[in-house]
Symmetry: C2
Subunit: 400 residues, 2 copies
């Protein structure tokens, strides 16, 4: 009976590939992708734009969304930050002798221990992380992957050391192009067995705010958040902040690994290689007001009493300069009050006072603008992998 | 566009009610349930037995599954334990002056502070919690609720004080029947606004292992795990371990609240009130071996090398006396080695050595038997709310 179910689940995924364009399209999936269900394209749609497969629900339970009520805090309370887990969580003993290698195109290859890092300049840096798959469930058709809506973000205060001086100590050779970060977490994706691995161009790796972190909110990183050591790149989406750091390798070419050349791409069809996903698109989030229904999460607020709507806004392209709020469904926006950013590498708090004046349902939204002039769109531009869907959120509320 | 989507989501839930038995059945849903989507019954099936709605995926991201690789540890690492959140997480300042009331049918009603509790007998007690909704996604038709598969459990080591002496200090009156525990978390379920609340019969409240806990794994409870104070009832399913404790009230009758009389029931149709869900059914879980595919979570193991399969087993009805393992799909079982229980209130570790001898796919399963003679079934008996689905898990593995 369970076998039946397992087989049906498998069949569903296969059918997902076949539904759109028949057996020919299914057969066109490269043979090396046998380990991973095919992801949909416009020609090969997902099972449904409105429903989610059980495999994806298992991912939703393994990964964590940020609890939106935690948006009231400048720093996300421990454990309420989003987490994306690519493979299995690897475990390590808590010891300062944990080490990684720093090599490749450097003058002085070295093995660096956690204890060594703790003797370097130490920073405490609130930093925002956000999954590149944000809003994937709003894309249509939608890629089969972690089916995020608006919850994959958070700000912890990290304790760590800046990366730049460490790279300078190793001494990059003149032909250095990119810096590759490799984690201890291993598995298959798109049929390729690999340790999770991502690269940064040298100039990005040298930027202010890029640190190697061993603590979040004053205690060792939680296991699934990267214990014992994690790269933090505040301006890029979260996949760049490689966990369980095993090696740093300077290379003289553009990195070609699966997590950079095949996954985390902004493309339009399966024949389009796409552009790499890098910096966070401008976005804002609102703490849902009132009290919820347990299942639908719909909100209920009282008539006539002023409510302080609040939330956070951020962008990988510069500081936040404006947040606007809409409390109706007619597309009218009013400016929110901005507080100072929690840190140059974190988010900007905003508040807006709203007095619900009529019984019935309404929709609450916020939208942010950054210093580079990017405005959070009402709906994000579609892409094949459902990446960076930073559209304005709509929170349904009943006034009663 | 987002509005369109929101409306479609709403329509889907409504349609879910109507699909099975037409408008008459939909109209039969009580008016006070307007806040909560109707849950399916055999006469009113869910949208699909194989797909999940977005509302439920949002719940899956808010709640947390245990990461199954953490089954290698006797105590679940901080943050990797399952969490179910009924409403919003309430926040409190970290202070020993946090208090709850202890009243009702007692001789000496009192207000008790966290500081008071810390002056009482202190125990450090590894305890197992598991959500009553375990395996809901395996039920068919399936209730619309948190769509758990096999991941909602965990063992933390709690620091707390036994409940019994505290109740004795208050002095239960002769007509005391049940003890009601109320949390600070508030919302609607099935159309009723309430603080989350559950009752225990007096004899259960006096049992060994029932404690009030303020720490897990040596540090204050995480916010979503019940900070600052939580009831722990190791033998019952997790809903009984009320979080954010606000009051304890002794009553002279059987409790009639929504979370006990309507939710958490084992019933067979909407006209059947059902029996209350209480103690944990016997279950076992296996740490998935080898390495995973990122999306399907299917496992890959090498041919010929011995693998130590390992996991945990538990029951609310007594100690575990046997765990068996199957490494094929032919229903043959072999005994696993049992270790000592992590505590009388936690789980029992087991191991089994397996050497994969043929390339191809197989299925790994474990099943537990407790001292009361309960054997984990291949498939759990169906019930309307999809509760306590403790059937044997089937882990798909490719040997290569």
């Amino acid at each position: 009976m369970r076998l039946e179910r397992a087989l049906t689940r498998r069949a569903l995924l296969t059918r997902g590939a076949a539904l759109g364009a028949g057996a020919a399209a299914a057969a066109a999936v490269p043979a090396r992708a046998a380990h991973t269900p095919p992801r949909p394209t416009p020609d090969r749609p997902p099972l449904s734009s409105q429903l989610v497969s059980y495999e994806e629900v298992v991912l939703a339970f393994r990964c964590h969304g940020m609890h939106l009520e935690a948006l009231q805090h400048p720093i996300t309370p421990l454990g309420q930050h989003f987490v994306l887990i690519h493979f299995d969580v690897p475990y390590f003993a808590p010891t300062d002798s944990y080490s990684f290698t720093l090599g490749g195109r450097v003058r002085t290859p070295m093995t660096v221990t956690l204890g060594d890092l703790k003797k370097r300049t130490i920073v405490k840096q609130p930093s925002i992380l956000e999954c590149a798959g944000v809003g994937r469930s709003y894309a249509h058709p939608r890629a089969i992957y972690v089916p995020w809506t608006n919850e994959p973000m958070g700000v912890y205060e990290y304790t760590g050391t800046p990366l730049k001086p460490l790279l300078e100590a190793a001494g990059l050779l003149d032909d250095a192009v990119e810096v590759v970060f490799t984690g201890h977490d291993e598995g298959f994706d798109l049929g390729t067995r690999h340790f999770f691995e991502r690269a940064l161009p040298v100039d990005e790796a040298f930027k202010d705010g890029v640190i190697l972190a061993w603590e979040a909110n004053g205690q060792p990183l939680l296991p699934h958040h990267g214990f014992p050591l994690r790269l933090i790149v505040p301006t890029w989406y979260g996949m760049q902040s490689v966990k369980y750091l095993k090696s740093i390798t300077v290379i003289d070419h553009t990195y070609q690994g699966v997590e950079q050349k095949q996954v985390y791409r902004h493309g339009f069809s399966s024949s389009d290689g796409g552009r790499p996903i890098q910096k966070k698109a401008v976005r804002s989030a609102m703490m849902p007001p009132g009290i919820p229904d347990a299942i639908s999460r719909h909100r209920f607020v009282p008539l006539g009493a002023p409510i302080t709507l609040q939330g956070k806004a951020w962008s990988g392209h510069g500081p936040i300069v404006r947040v606007e709020v809409s409390t109706n469904d007619r597309g009218t926006w009013a400016p929110a009050n901005l507080g100072p950013p929690v840190s140059p590498h974190a988010w900007t708090p905003w508040t807006f006072t709203w007095t619900p004046r009529r019984r019935g349902q309404t929709v609450l939204s916020s939208r942010a603008t950054d210093a580079a002039g990017n405005i959070q769109p009402l709906r994000a531009a579609w892409n094949q992998q459902g990446m960076a869907q930073n559209g304005v959120e709509r929170i349904g509320v009943t006034i009663e």
